[in-house]
């Protein structure tokens, strides 16, 4: 039993223990959940310190599971999944602690759902067997379905059913593609394998790669979500309880981008090549559309949800640039988005607990009433915009650098998203916090309690840590992304069309790797 198995199965065991726990006292239940998630987080820190950058899959475990079908229990962590796992364990602790007062009914089931969700997400990040990945990918739907459906807002049932239907519809087609690839790996004689590392070297014919990539990409694009598959997201976010939104935005959406990085693109590079233009266009549309949609939102949560659509468009942009800078930025931005948007949803949850409304119009001028809350919100909002000195700047800068290097025109259009982001976030801050207090009820809002502050401080610290000194993070993800790039680009370089080809200049990889004290690696210019 290695550390990764502990990370995967500890939460689910704790969740089951919580469900059969005879006591009903709230302090016991939440205490148990807090301790369980905290222990999980501390154990996961071992990965951070024990991880060897560039060492490929580490802490690997491999057991036979369903050997008839070449299925194994295969897990491992590399630079791509490391930070995402840590983000998951951190956000779970925060989600648990932030729910103490917000959740009044069915607490056992609630905390158990959070722990089950943690197992599903971590399992999906760590699986290096495609069958195992699919199992976790589906399993995590169920706790999220309950979190939204049982503890959500007014239209929770509509939102949760929509969420599950969307996700299932996409992932079932992916299942067909997975099964087909399995049969291909065994030459259609039934002796294939589900080992991801073997799948990388299959050499599937380009014609098949197209539909296989399409099936995978659909599942992941729904999860990301990319335009036009995003419509479930605002509903799910608005209706989910605050901690559910934190987990949804913080880690569940990352699984979509992670899926592109880990599965869709490296498994089917030629399929990706075929659809690259479409994905670029959809990402750019997502960035601009998401940003514009925020401007007409009246609900703070749905505003943040649409800003997620925009931010995840950037994440996809970085991946599709297929160069080291872009991919690094994209991965870092996934973490950043988890931190910033997670914190935003937390803050909205806190103010909602006090005033039971999320309408922007119901607030105004509360800076003077709740200064600590307002400052925290401002910092997080600025990091979401990408102000230099915060984490958002590092991620977006690298992504745009990579994107310019691959497709300058698309990159230029997408910068509109950055400008709009500053606009909608600052406008939100102005409408909620500044000006006179319009509603008298708002004059008596309590400021943050110590518990609430405790949930925010780790996130605020990370915002500045990554913003000022991202090196420890970049060092851990960089080398594995280099080998990822080699794998992706073995077949054929992705060629940009003539109308959107970058002018050659010093490849930013050289700048980056010089900064990291390495010799320039493979060039980023196609």
């Amino acid at each position: 039993m290695g550390i990764l198995s502990v990370l995967i199965f500890f939460p689910v065991l704790c969740g089951v223990a919580l469900l059969v726990w005879p006591g009903e006292r709230h302090a016991q239940i939440r205490g148990f959940a807090t301790v369980a998630s905290a222990v999980e987080f501390i154990v996961s820190l071992w990965l951070w310190f024990g991880f060897v950058p560039g060492g490929g899959f580490q802490f690997v475990e491999s057991l036979d599971w369903i050997s008839r079908y070449g299925i194994g229990y295969r897990v491992g962590v590399d630079g791509i999944s490391l930070l995402l796992v840590l983000l998951t364990t951190l956000l779970t602790v925060i989600a648990v602690v932030s729910s103490y007062s917000a959740i009044q009914t069915g607490r056992k089931g609630y905390y158990a759902s959070l722990l089950f969700l943690e197992t599903g997400v971590i399992g999906a990040f760590l699986a290096t067997d495609v069958f195992l990945f699919y199992v976790f990918w589906e399993v995590m739907l169920i706790p999220m379905y309950f979190l939204i459906g049982v503890w959500g807002g007014q239209r929770r049932i509509y939102a949760t059913v929509k969420f599950v239907l969307y996700t299932m519809a996409g992932s079932l087609l992916m299942l067909v593609a997975i099964l087909w690839t399995y049969q291909y790996s065994g030459g259609f004689s039934g002796h294939g394998t589900f080992n991801l590392l073997d799948w990388y070297g299959l050499g599937i014919p380009a014609s098949a790669q197209r539909w296989l990539f399409a099936a995978f990409a659909l599942a992941f694009a729904i999860k990301v979500p990319m335009f036009p598959f995003h419509t479930w997201l605002p509903d799910a976010h608005v209706e989910a309880p605050a901690a559910g939104s934190v987990m949804l935005a913080g880690v569940l959406l990352k699984l979509g981008a992670y899926g592109f990085l880990r599965f869709a693109i490296p498994l089917f590079p030629q399929g990706f090549e075929y659809f690259a233009d479409t994905l670029w266009i959809l990402s750019v549309i997502g960035i601009v559309y998401g940003a514009i949609m925020t401007l007409i939102q009246e609900d703070i949560k749905s505003l943040i949800a649409y800003s997620s659509v925009s931010h995840l468009g950037f994440v996809m942009l970085g991946i599709m640039a297929l160069n080291l800078v872009g991919a690094t930025g994209s991965l870092l931005q996934q973490i950043n988005h988890g931190i910033s948007t997670g914190a935003l949803f937390l803050l909205v949850g806190m103010i909602y607990e006090r005033r039971h409304t999320r309408k922007i119009a119901d607030y105004g001028g509360i800076f003077a009433v709740v200064p600590v809350f307002s400052i925290a919100f401002l910092i997080v909002a600025l990091s979401s915009i990408g102000l230099p000195g915060t984490n958002g700047f590092v991620g977006e800068f690298l992504i745009l650098l990579g994107a310019f290097n691959a497709r300058p025109i698309f990159a230029t259009i997408s910068t509109v998203g950055v400008i709009l982001a500053a606009g909608y976030m600052l406008w939100l801050v102005r409408r909620v916090f500044f000006g006179p207090v319009v509603h008298a009820v708002n004059e008596t809002i309590r400021d943050l309690t110590r518990r609430e502050l405790a949930t925010l401080i780790p996130l605020l610290a990370l915002i500045f840590w990554i913003g000022i000194y991202p090196r420890p993070f970049l060092d851990r993800i960089g080398p594995d992304l280099e080998s990822w790039l080699k794998r992706v680009r073995t077949v054929e370089m992705i060629k940009a069309p003539a109308w959107d080809r970058p002018t050659p200049f010093v490849p930013p990889e050289a700048v980056l790797s010089r900064a990291a004290g390495k010799t320039p690696g493979d060039g980023g210019t196609p």
Partner: protein, 475 residues
Amino acid sequence: MNFAAIMPEIILTAGLLFLMVMDVMTDGRRNLGWYAALFILAAGVAVVMQFDHIELGFSGMVMSDRFANLFRLIIYLGGFLATLTATAAWDGEAKSVFGAEFFSLLLASMVGMDLLVIGANLIVIFIGLEILSLPLYAMAAGQTQSDEAVEAGAKYFLTGAFASGFLLFGIALVYGATGSFAFEAIGNSYAAGPFSEPLLLAGGVLILIGFFFKIAGVPFHAWAPDVYAGAPTPTVAFFAAAPKAAAVGLLLRLVLTTFADLPLQTIIWWVSWLSMFVGNVWALRQRDLKRLLAYSGIAHVGYVLVGLCANGPGAASSIGFYLMGYAAMSVGAFAVIAAVEKAGKATTLDSVAGLGRRRPAIAAALSLFMFALTGIPPTAGFAGKFALFSEALKSGLLGLVIWAVLFSAVSVYYYLRVVVAIWMWPETGETANASRAGSGGYAVVLALAAIITLLLGIYPQPFLALAADSLVWLL
């Protein structure tokens, strides 16, 4: 006269005689379900003990091989769980529907099912089908004070008679074409030369249709929703798994061996295609849980037929594996409905609204079965679909598999609606009634079904191996 070949059937028959005697002796005041369950268990042990033997008996009329033994075990699993459900539904009255007659009929029907899977001769198959069906008609109509139950029995009888007609006509044509009733002789005569192909093909198709009626494959399904809705719920629990397993077992044997050279794939393909479509789409608008599960059952027949269409040893073993899981999860679902119905007298979605707050254990079990029927891991439903679709892709049935997963996605909606009702709807008066249900007997069957559903999903390897070892002999 090789009695070893029919030892399990002898045990079941002894059981049904024993129950009748017991009924007279105890004046109908004892719950006899436990005895019936015990006899099924004993028959199962007999099967396990001779699992690897091939026993030919009665001049080659029956053949008890591994294939037959695997399907016997699946039938017994479904029958055993249904028996426990009916036992729990016994209300302690002398005139209970679930008295000795019920369990005797159930055991008799199981003998018929056994005959379908061990029969090696079309005459035995016909007799088996009749022994299977006649008790089912009576069981469907058993609740004589209920109009719906009587209507259900009558409908089931009429369509059943129709199906028997098809089967008999088919058998006659096959006999006309080949001059034999024995499976082996039919197969050989065809291999020797297709001297009367159209006749044989017509016979094969008619036999197939006869059994499509029994498993409720579209367009031969119209009876199923009415019968499911009208018949007593424990009876439906019995309908749901065991007869289907028997009929599918027989179809496998016919399609893979006796009729291996006939072009029957097209008709199976279409029935599968239609069943998935009709079952899943019609289920969307059902508010009655039994009707909903009836359409769900039709859809699942569609999935099973995907495997039958794939036509190979791997596909056959995945069907065996699928049916094991299906027996557990469908009977489990009906057991929950029986528990709810016993207290509340209704089986609509409203009658389970808010059940999660009152009866979390039962509600959790029903949710698990719904997730399993949807095919969400880590349950038997997912492992089964995985095995089926994987084998179908091996045979190049990409289009049918894509069709199947599309309608699996549709099915998410109606299965999850049940879960939504349980956990997310406010309670109704009916739920309050349901919360008073005694559940001692149900606890056993629900726990058993839940464990099997999860076990087959989490660690399917030994069961897949069992199914594969049993079915590889078929070819």
